[in-house]
Symmetry: C7
Subunit: 250 residues, 7 copies
């Protein structure tokens, strides 16, 4: 379909194109690809979440670019794409987790949370007057009373998927390929952290420890990995340098 | 009608074209055709539902691509098309089944459920501000106190149809032709499972057991067919290989 | 008026064209004409309703293509056009009939029911944000305590009409001409059934008994005519064959 | 103003054209002119309403094409234009008449009723999201305790007018001219009936008694004139034949 | 600004053109100019309102073309432009006058009434979804316990103005010029009536008494001037003839 | 940006142009410039408000063109631009002043009032479905228990500004330049009146006393300056003549 | 993407472009850049906020151009861009701060406030019918019981960022570069004030003390820096002159 024909159908979420596509959803996926990459790795001991942070100036506090988010004691998320949209989804996720604790006295499951968010996302793709969310999330957690690591992804269409290991955002293809080559069922959580950092180096070999953020969700709960641990991996595998490319899709 | 004329009428569900068509509904059917195929077969003993699952990476958990859905003890569904839309319809179906049990203390009939969903679908095709559902469902169940197998289909126009055996999604024509040649009134449920898998092989001879999912609804209720049973059929009739083509229309 | 000028006015039900037409209503009539034909015949003893059913596959249950509908003990309807729209109108008709029984303890009259539906249809043709119904109904019943056969038609404009005998849907002109030649005031209900089947053969001489459905509304209530009775007429007057043309306008 | 310029302003009831016209209202008047003619004649003894009925088939019940409507004991109406729109206005008129009786215990005056309807019509011409009514009404009645014959007209703009005698619908100009030549203050009600039928013959000399309907509103209330009386006038002044031209604007 | 540029801004009341104009308001003023003229003259003894009535047929009751309206004991109005719009404004004025009497037990002042109407008119010019009123009113009354004659005008923009003497509608410029030459502070009410009729003759020297309507608001209240009085002036100053030009802008 | 590009962004208040402008707000400022000028001068003793009035006919009551408005005992306003819009803002200002007195028992401050109006104005510039106000106001008052003269301006963007002396409307630049040359901190209120009238003469040397209106807000409250005082200044500095140019932007 | 293609997607906040951008948000950032610059500097002792004020006339009260805003005892903000939009956000910030005090009896944290505002901003970028806010804010405050200086920025996309030092508005790049060269962790609050003024001089060396406004938030609360202090810095580093360029983006 050429550009003119495409333009006839891409100006609304409440429209199908003649070949059955919803262009606004596909464009929202492009917004995800504009963001710095995030990834998740399920290991035998828990889930690793990692992300690259882009800062537009050395005076920006890198930590305020929130790519990893603690949702509940045993629930975390990584985001990529339009920052403000991701924040809104994260807010929804936190609210859902809290509400579940209050109502049922137990933590919200990873799959249930993912599907709740996906329902909200789907609605923005079927009714007029709103655009889809230009962000994707990775939801990580420990199900079954904290014994079963799970990793899910939401995307702008509202379709949830479970993954062993997955990357979103810019450079996604390189990172995913690296993950496919290096993932195995019996990874330890430390293996996972190492692979996570190395996979980010795969798509950008100029990373320094400050521009990478890593967290783990295990039976010990949500833990932020220290800069030193990250630096160790970078020192071993990467050639560190300052990040120099920043956009509002962080 | 040429493309320019068609474009005058295809940008809304609340518009007829001069020849009495509703293009957005027809485009939604294209969305169904983009999805991996699903099918249903009514046998003398119950109904078989089967579907192909497409995964975009070996790291994706194939089981999270939900194509077959248990709706109630004696009710199941298969979906094809836009995943998020199908999920929404399935949610509606489950809610309707639960409500019926609560209100009337008895299971919801297959025909009644199909018509309830069809009503909801029709509304998206008559009023502005929303697009049709880009998904079709096959509803399978045992009516009359679990003694009568029934198989229905919903489509994006909101018209329900009852079938002896039917396929939806990509490769639908080949599969349907195979079904027409192989279906008979007195099939056993095992016959049905075999025909179901073989019909999927008909449109894609590279299937492996993991990319096929089969379930049955009989007097014993909703049962997921084991990978081994599926593998047996594939071993006999197909040439297994990895699926390599994935889209968000699963 | 040429096509370009017409297109200026045909994109909304809340618009008149310069010559005082409402194009969306006329296009909705085209949707009716796309459907397989239905017809009604008022006889001295009651009303005959008949319809052709189109199936897209021998595996489809023809009976699930509902063209004739029992509305109440002495009320029936035949539909043509967009299936999902017709279902919606039929649902409205049944609800109206039930409500009348509950409120007033007596059956709803044919004319009153037709006008209630016509009011609902008219609203879709005057206000924006919705399209007209792409379906027409024939309403048949026994008024005056079941002693007076009546036959009405609704159309997409919302104008009700009473008929002695009338056809809607594809091939309408041929069937209507046949009815005009063969109808008389003193037909028996059996005469009516015969004329009904013969008139369908008039527009399609390949009909078999399965693709024809006939019902009668008499002092005995709503009765579905058996396949055997239909087959007898076809055997006498037609050259039976499989229907081979199916659309979602059934 | 040429066609292109006109099209810039004729797609909404909430728009004036540069020369201060509301095109949708003018197009709605065209819808009135498409309908078969109706007329009213005020005589010294009461008001005569008459209308031509068009049937599209000899099997249609001419009486179901309602052009004359009893609104209350001493109130009647004739309509022309879009049938479904006219029905809606007539429903509103009947409701207003009933409500007046219930609230105030007295019949609704002709002028008050006309203005109530005109208010409703005007609203459809000023606010977006709806089209004007494509129908005009003649309201006839006896005011002042049944002693004063009155005849009013509503039109699609919502402007009420009082008339001594007036025609609406197709052939309006010929009929009005005949009325202007034949009307006088001291007509008897029988004179009025004769002039009414003759004026219809003026625009269509092929009328037969069945396609003409006449009613009177006098101190005796609303009375439908018998076919015989009509036939007498046609026999004297016209050359009867079958009507052969039917549209949904009846 | 050429026509193409103008058309970019004239399709909504919620739009300014680049030079700060609201075209729909200006087009509504054209609707006023299409109407037959009305005028008001403030004299030392009270206010004279006068208007020309256009009838489209000798069978129309001229008095049903209401151009002058009694609003309250000491309040009257004259209208020009779109008849149905004027009726709506007049209804609003009467309601406001009644409400004031009920709430405060005293008559509504001329200025207050004009401003109330102007507020309502302004709203139609700022918000989308409605067109402005295509009518202007002259409001005449006796303020300060009936001792002070006042004459106000509303226009489609919602700006109120007080006048000594003013004309609206077609031929407004000629009439206004005549008023400017003949008005003086110390006119008697009879002088005012004479000048009013003569000013209408100024723009149309074929007027007869029936097509002119005059009313006065003085300490004696609202009074309709008799045809004889009007005829006397026409006899003296005009050359009477039948009006022959009628539109729905009366 | 050329005209075509500009037109892509100037049809809504809820749109930014690529260079970050809101054209409808800028066009609304043009509406202000079309109006006759108004101005305000803060003196040591209070604030002077002055305005030119345009009348379209010698029969119009100039005083009904309200350019200066008493809002409360120590609050006044001058307006320029679209008359009906200004009236609406003035109504809002009066209501706010009254409400403040009722709720808090004290007069509303000048700054608070200006900001309240500016909030209302800003909303019309951010949400769709309405146009901005085509009017600007000068708000004058005595704050701090009547001891501190203050002068504020609102504009169509909703940004409030405090001024020592300022002009709005047509000829604004000439007047403002005159004010900049002649304003000083220690002006008496009489000086202010003189400068106000002279500044109007600056942009239009044909003014007469009737077309100029002046008011002061001092510790004595809101006072309308007499025509004689104005005439004295005009006699000394201007060459009086009749105003001859009138528009609905007064 | 060329201009024509861009224009296909830049007319709504509820639209993505094919490359995943939301043009209206980017245009709103242009509105921020049109405004005079504001900046914030976090020091060891507190946060400095500074801004340039543009006045369009020497008669305008510069102080009424509010660029710095006290929000609460230990909370301040600087704004740039569309003045009326900034005011609205500031109003929201003050309300949030007050509400927090009332509900929880403690001051609102800087980060929480920023995120509350960002949520509100994000909503204007996802739903139709409104434009984004054309303004950015810097939020400064002392967290943790007044001991921890924090500086945040909101932007039109709704993404919050924390900064050590940051500039917004016109000349942002020059100022930011100056800040990057001169900022260090251990600045005193006086150092911060000096750097703030010097950075403004960097982008505009004609500044005088009146057109610069500076405030600090320290353990002593919100304090406005005196003109004398500002003048001292300008005297030392700048060449003062009158500002001569004013727009409504202040």
């Amino acid at each position: 379909m050429n550009r003119n024909d495409q333009q006839a159908y891409d100006r609304g979420t409440s429209l199908f194109s003649p070949d059955g596509r919803i262009y606004q959803v596909e464009y929202a996926r492009e917004a995800v690809k504009r963001g710095a990459p995030s990834l998740g790795i399920r290991t035998a001991e828990g889930v690793v979440l990692a992300a690259q942070r882009r800062t537009s100036s050395p005076l920006m506090e890198g930590e305020s670019i929130e790519k990893l988010h603690k949702l509940d004691d045993f629930l975390g998320a990584a985001s990529a794409g339009h920052v403000a949209d991701a924040r809104r989804l994260i807010d929804g996720a936190r609210t859902a987790a809290q509400r579940n604790r209050l109502r049922y006295g137990e933590p919200l499951g990873v799959e249930t949370l993912t599907k709740t968010l996906s329902d909200e996302i789907q609605e923005t793709t079927q009714y007029g007057g709103t655009r889809p969310f230009g962000a994707a999330l990775l939801i990580a957690g420990m199900d079954d009373s904290g014994s079963e690591p799970r990793l899910y992804q939401t995307d702008p269409s509202g379709a949830p998927q479970e993954w062993r290991a997955v990357a979103i955002g810019s450079g996604r293809d390189d990172i995913q390929e690296f993950l496919e080559s290096n993932w195995s069922e019996d990874l330890s959580i430390d293996d996972g952290v190492e692979i996570a950092v190395r996979s980010l180096l795969e798509s950008n070999d100029d990373l320094d420890a400050e521009s990478v953020t890593v967290a783990t969700v295990t039976t010990d709960g949500y833990r932020v990995v220290s800069d030193d641990e990250i630096a160790d991996v970078i020192d071993e595998y990467g050639s560190a340098a300052d990040a120099d490319d920043t956009e509002d899709d962080a």
